[in-house]
């Protein structure tokens, strides 16, 4: 490995924790919490499969897939932002940060649109056990997205002024946003795909 590095004059960067280690504690703890919610959902689902299947049929898979791709794109954008900031290209980083917010807004709009559609079909929070979990998980996730906007706001604020830029804080904010993304990946699988 070192011979290769020497011959190509490439320095292997030292291993470092991305962002504050504290944020990683949050990420893993929150993920365990959601796992708890998913476990309750799965266990209850097995007790009442037909009801859950019947309700689940009212969900539109296309919207779910679209939302997943939108959030994956937002994760890509914030990852690009972090790399750009690390290379000192702050204008580029700002553009990517703005793109992340944009994708997040699109997600939120489609999410609310989907809720309105479901309510029009008669599926509310109290109409069936499946929809209890659906609205609970998606609204809890949306709260995370809204907090994510605040976090991205902090990120952008950091990037704007040369006096404030802290790569650690930028990475910490990005870590939070990726959490929002991967939580959605799990929620999507639980609500839309699991049979």
């Amino acid at each position: 490995m070192t011979n290769l590095a020497e011959s190509e004059h490439v320095t292997v960067p030292p291993r470092r924790v991305p962002g504050q280690p504290d944020m990683w504690l949050f990420v893993l703890f929150e993920a365990m919490l959601f796992t708890g919610y998913f476990s309750v959902y799965l266990a209850l689902r097995t007790q009442n499969e037909d009801l859950f299947l019947q309700s689940q049929a009212d969900l539109d898979l296309r919207v779910g897939v679209f939302n997943t791709i939108v959030l994956l794109s937002s994760s890509w954008a914030v990852a690009r932002c972090v790399r750009a900031a690390r290379a000192g290209q702050y204008r580029s980083a700002m553009t990517f940060a703005a793109a992340t917010v944009g994708f997040g807004v699109v997600f939120a709009i489609f999410k609310v649109g989907e809720w309105i559609h479901e309510i029009r079909l008669g599926n509310t929070f109290t109409s069936s056990e499946f929809f209890q979990h659906y609205y609970f998980l998606t609204s809890l996730h949306l709260i995370h997205v809204l907090i994510g906007f605040i976090v991205l706001g902090v990120l952008i604020y950091q990037l704007r002024s040369p006096l404030r830029r802290s790569q650690e804080l930028v990475e910490t904010c990005a870590t939070y946003w990726h959490t929002v993304d991967f939580l959605w990946v799990m929620i999507f699988a639980m609500l839309y795909i699991v049979r």
Partner: protein, 273 residues
Amino acid sequence: MSTATTLPDAPEFPGGSRLQRFAWNVRHHPKRELWFAWYVMVVFYNLYGVLFFLVTRVQPPPSPDWDTPLVVQWFDEHHLGLLTGFGVVFLISGMCAPMNALLAYSMWRMSVSRVFAYSYLIMYSLAALPGMLVMAIAMTVGALRADRDPELIVWMYDFAFLSFSGTMGVFLVGSVVWLVAILLDKNNVFPKWFAYLGLCNALTEVVVAPAWIFQRGAFAWNGAIAWWINMVVFILYTAAFIVLLRRMIEREDFGTGPLPDPAAKAEPVKAAR
């Protein structure tokens, strides 16, 4: 409880037996009020756990789905526990004051505006009313007369549990105030991970809100999501802040700048407790 490195001008215990050392601490230790508040907090939470979980048995909560005869039966079975347990709760409820003061003190010590500390103090002072006392009153009223009209007993039952679980909003806002203060703080009073843990705790408090709507299932006041998972997070959060407050007191130097890092454990007999 060494003051040796964090307070260089502090008086030192002259030496003697353990009892003498304790008496000296009570009279002279510069941080005695902080330690008093901390011990009150520890005693309070232990009592709270014993009273709510073992004596009165209102936690884990019984089901909102029960019909009238079952609820009346529950009151019958728990009659003595409810009256004695909540009787003690009424006596000790004042212990919340030093506890809330210590938490507000932690914010006061931070580099952020005092507004955080004051708003937290106000919120939590009021929060004990719906969050603990209303349940205590409703339960004792319900248990007081065995021959009371069953419908009234069920009313008390619903009133108590909804008040206890459903008023999480106040605690939620208080948690958020504390965590924002920690994130903005430059004095390093608490580690940042505790702010994020507070965020997790605040979110689980949001999760209790559906208890107002559901009488059965995972979102009822005794549900797997609205109570059990919520309680696990709350216990972890409480354990964390008890330990962190202890560390804060140990590090306290009564200044206005960053708190010094924890004193080295190699301090010998100067430890006063």
